[in-house]
Symmetry: C2
Subunit: 447 residues, 2 copies
């Protein structure tokens, strides 16, 4: 049984229900989906609202239930859930918190008061970011922990459900060509690029409080960074992998103010839900350093922002140049690119001979188009909700990761510099050009 | 001025004249092309015979001259050449020996007696193989050397004119991802595959005397092998490169009889020009070992043959497996493939995560399609003839290479084992499966 708090929200409509629907179609989920919202609408109206047809077999699983989440004494709610659970012989309950953080406590109180956590498994799913900083994250975790054990708490970072993010470990640990390259001996720098064309849209209220660092870096970027940088775990178990990921977070050197670039797109202050005097960053570029043997001297550059010229998420490992200088005209360094979205794939940029006489070189690309081969990658939410059902925590953020990530980000944000304005449609590479050019490097531009 | 001996032969018609025509179209060659043959035909008839139109500007450069090459006293021939040379203010003479080896001596005598080697540069081009073994190669070279200096002798191995063969050095020396991989630390074995679908065709007379080892291995395979295996030269000069290539040839260990596979396709004995009792091999697979630090323990497998199921020439560097055994279900070793023909390109086979839950792997390929990007690669002969005009010997086989290659091949052929019959259309991998399976390896199959 799935109980979604925040039934009429954007996430539920756009991501959760389509994902659960797909799992249903594949025969992986066949239990009631209780959608809890404030709006006074009928089940039929709700099904229409979320864009489903009442004739669909999936629609028959959906039950809209109107309730005020701030009321912990809610006997109707309890009765409804218990009846449904019993009737459908459900094996467990998945509580999905698709609601603003301020509602987390009331809902936890509601669950606690309702004594719903008996019978089968009970798991709870939170959206990122988990907390606003280390203090609030701890507070939230304390509240959740009064009713859920850590093993039953699933903190979503939907990037971890993305096929190409999951692929990182396979690439590293099953291919000698990558395995051997994975250190400062061969890598010059790593670039994690998460550019977005979209503006802040309908998320102004949330976003203006968070900003790009909390919205994207604290979670997505830190996850990708730790997957890329971690030492090989002893075994590929969730426990051992998390142990290694945390070691990376702990080894991050505090960021210097000069290694932080913050920007805000022009017109942001006029967006709905945004403070007209807001200094929230909608763009950031950061230089991280990891204090260990493998990555000594290898900067990790992180970049993300809204209202940029392109939408793409990719990890670029820029290799050191060749040792020999036998042929040296237009040579470029090799780049291993892992494209996470939208065009999933893996590529290597290399120098090729320019046809004709002599040894002039030209940079070209060897490409693996993931989508061309596997054309039906499940959406991240589909993957993740299924994992919760299976009780696999491998693709979720552990509490320790949250702690160490916030520790680092809190320190970083305390050094907040000036937020510079940029034109909508700017290139992320241009806005943050100096961050790399002062190191005599360039942002990777692969198209 | 170009003087082709063997005007009516297959090579002249199919390769040389089209190549010279292309160079003419590009404005790189604008001098008379004297085509010497035995047939008593007019210039017009000759132009038609080689598939040209008399209205083409290129046809105007062509002058057919009938003569008996075995007659060294040939005043008409001399007069004709001298007249043409003077009239067109040619800068030099390129003598192209597109004739059977038995005619080399008479033609050399003819050139010598004619005193044609004055005025401008004089260069001579020989087709491979140069000689039949070390003894005959030395004999031939002695004859040639009576009139040409080594610097003016161009021994063609047309593989060296192929863009992707020339590319090998650029790939190795300008890309750290390849440079660092290039040793027994990372490479498990190298496979040079030169399969041909064609039968012996009209070349039976020549081929039955030569066989696959002399026709393909002594020249093409040895060139590719030495380009792949050579140490980085001190500088990218022809001299330094040849020095390193020869070191490889010298470091080749004598081949054991058990490392030689020979085959003959069924029906070969009935081909035109072939001895009905012939034991000539039309297929060979060989295992070579290089006795130096870089390649200790890395076998180089060579395979070539006619009447096979596919036509392709490629070099495959099969990498060692990963050191970690974290994920080990269906992992395959990485392979760097350099496709020389027909689909020029570079690819890397690697293990990718199979989409879905868990860490199952699936072998996939990152590919660079050379032809897709550079759709107009000049044909090898065009490249090579132009190089002769420019006086660049870099893409030709030096005398020392010929010597060391024949030394090695003579030894190999002295161990000739049984020639086994194989069906036409067989797969090369199947015929020579055991050669690798006894080493617990497999031929690379990339499509």
């Amino acid at each position: 049984m799935i109980i979604i708090f925040g039934a009429t929200g954007d996430l539920t409509k756009r991501k959760l229900l389509p994902a659960i629907n797909n799992l249903h179609k594949k025969g992986l989920i066949d239990c009631p989906v209780i959608c809890i919202g404030r709006r006074d609408i009928s089940n039929t109206e709700y099904i229409k609202l979320v864009g489903l047809k009442s004739s669909d077999s999936f629609s028959k699983l959906i039950h809209y239930f109107k309730t005020d989440l701030t009321e912990s004494n809610n006997p109707l709610f309890v009765k409804f859930i218990k009846k449904e659970f019993k009737e459908h012989k459900c094996k467990g309950k998945l509580f999905y918190f698709a609601i603003p953080q301020k509602l987390f406590k009331p809902v936890i109180d509601l669950i606690k008061a309702s004594k719903l956590l008996s019978g089968g498994w009970n798991r709870v799913v939170f959206e990122k970011p988990f907390g606003y900083d280390l203090v609030t994250a701890k507070e939230l975790n304390k509240q959740v922990s009064t009713i859920f054990k850590e093993k039953d708490i699933y903190r979503i970072d939907h990037f971890l459900g993305k096929e190409l993010v999951q692929n990182i470990q396979v690439l590293r640990f099953t291919n000698s060509i990558f395995e051997q390259m994975w250190s400062n001996e061969f890598i010059d720098n790593v670039q994690v690029i998460m550019d977005e064309k979209v503006l802040v849209g309908s998320r102004g209220g949330y976003y203006d409080n968070a900003g790009a660092v909390r919205d994207m870096v604290q979670n997505h970027a830190m996850q990708i960074l730790s997957l890329i940088a971690m030492e090989p775990p002893k075994r590929m178990t969730n426990e051992e992998i998390i142990k290694e990921k945390i070691k990376v977070l702990k080894a991050l050197k505090p960021v210097k103010p000069s290694d932080i670039v913050l920007g805000q797109y022009k017109g942001y202050r006029g967006e709905r839900g945004v403070d007209p005097h807001s200094d929230t960053e909608t763009f950031t570029a950061l230089k991280f350093n990891i204090n260990n043997d493998r990555w000594k001297g290898v900067p990790f550059y992180i970049r993300t922002g809204k209202a940029l010229s392109k939408s793409l998420t990719e990890v670029n490992l820029v290799l050191k140049r060749v040792k020999s200088d036998l042929i040296c005209k237009n040579e470029v360094p090799n780049i291993i690119s892992i494209r996470i979205k939208p065009e999933e794939g893996v590529s290597i940029r290399f120098n090729n001979k320019l046809p004709g006489h002599g040894l002039e070189t030209s940079p070209v690309k060897m490409d693996f188009c993931h989508r061309c081969l596997f054309d039906n990658n499940p959406e991240a939410y589909e993957v993740l909700i299924h994992e919760v059902f299976m009780g696999n925590k491998g693709l979720f953020t552990s509490w320790d990761e949250v702690v160490h990530s916030w520790k680092f980000i809190d320190d970083l944000l305390s050094k907040n510099g000036k937020v510079r304005k940029y034109e909508r449609g700017s290139s992320g590479s241009m806005i943050a050009r100096k961050l790399l050019s002062k190191d005599r490097r360039e942002w990777v531009e692969i198209n």
